[in-house]
Homo-oligomer: 242 residues x 2
């Protein structure tokens, strides 16, 4: 099992970028106007303060924005691209908790950096992505100074908590078939109806095995909800069975 996973690891993002090929600035800077587009709720002085003290970090496909056990010293905001956030156990198993989209903040980074503690999760870039790193001390200052920022932080906590609860629901109460459906729906929401993943990759993110996922996908195809191809799934209508 571990062998399969390791093998899988290296090819994991091979096909993901084929469909999501939007381009972005390769230089590690961002101007106020761009930032405003991503965070329209932030007022000008807040944007200025953020820009003056933060750094932009570029992530390539598959790069880890934060990993288990790592000390976090910044609040992480996603500028563009897509991050997948995983939970992993001691044996190297992982499963997907939720996605982060542009304009989202990583709740764990806020919590960890505020208390100078270790990360408990793993965040990986699906495609090329850029994150904004806001040093802890600034983030703390902003909290007192800007209501907007404070609300943003609280909202982020809540949003992530709720997504986590949804994931928990699907694991605790649902069979693998429904979990797969939930997974596909979420994938469609962030990446569109062409899912360019192998069955192995999906199995991996659901902490299951390829054969089982293949069988369930086959069943789904028979309902007409999806169409299977090599390395890619065409989604027609996932709400058929609701």
């Amino acid at each position: 099992m571990q062998g399969v996973k390791t093998q899988h690891w290296f090819c994991f993002f091979k096909h993901v970028s084929l469909s999501t090929t939007f381009y972005h600035t390769m230089n590690n800077t961002i101007d106020q106007e761009e930032l405003h587009k991503i965070f329209p709720q932030f007022e000008e002085p807040l944007l200025k303060e953020i820009l003056s003290q933060s750094t932009v970090k570029h992530l390539d496909e598959g790069d880890e924005a934060m990993r288990s056990g790592q000390y976090i010293k910044s609040t992480i905001l996603l500028l563009n691209g897509l991050l997948k956030v995983y939970r992993e156990d001691d044996e190297g198993n992982e499963f997907l908790m939720y996605y982060l989209e542009p304009g989202n903040a990583c709740a764990m980074s806020m919590m960890c950096s505020a208390r100078n503690e270790k990360s408990q999760i793993l965040a990986k870039a699906v495609n090329s992505a850029e994150v904004l790193l806001i040093p802890t001390h600034l983030s703390e200052e902003l909290l007192k100074k800007y209501n907007t920022w404070h609300n943003f932080v609280i909202a982020s906590y809540r949003a992530r908590f709720e997504e986590l609860l949804q994931t928990l629901d699907s694991i605790a109460f649902k069979g693998l078939d429904e979990r797969l459906l939930f997974y596909l729906k979420r994938h469609v929401k962030v990446s569109g109806k062409e899912i360019r993943l192998s069955h192995q990759q999906i199995a991996y993110e659901l902490n299951s095995s390829r054969e089982v996922i293949s069988r369930l996908l086959k069943k789904l195809e028979q309902t007409g909800a999806i169409r299977l191809h090599r390395n890619y799934i065409e989604v027609h209508n996932l709400n058929i069975l609701d």
Copy 2:
């Protein structure tokens, strides 16, 4: 199944209080000194502000501090007693997410009240308990005014998030045997080595069935980790298998 659960529901807290019979003030007030003992990190002016505008609510065994779908208009702090926090699905299944102990805050209540949204979880009093209800507007004020309060809120978010992640781990990665062990350990931590629960009640909190739990407990007894009695489990050493 539903029938069993309903039946079970009414007798759920029957035996819980036998072992945990500490007593507390029955009048719905609390003075500054008491509050300081529970929240030693809060400075005097903060305690005074909290006391001046908050109310104490008494909960009897089994009362719900918050339930799914309810609008939350206060931040909930636990003064004494013990709360169990559950997640429930649409079919009435529930499982235990974590406990709240005196000095803890309900993270969901903070998030919900701040945004005037509905609760997504269910919190029940294990034994008699008292909670402090802090109106939303005060909680918001305190956030800007007191660093201590702000840190407390952030710490609460983080603590609850981490406990949730632990629960998630045990569901996602572990078999029922290990989940049971995890459940028992946590129970011992908050309520001591005499677990006054029926197998049915445990099954319910793990979203499993009585027979399965009985079997697993039997196996555990054979290792010497526990000793089974009617309506109560005597814990010897749960770390034997680690």
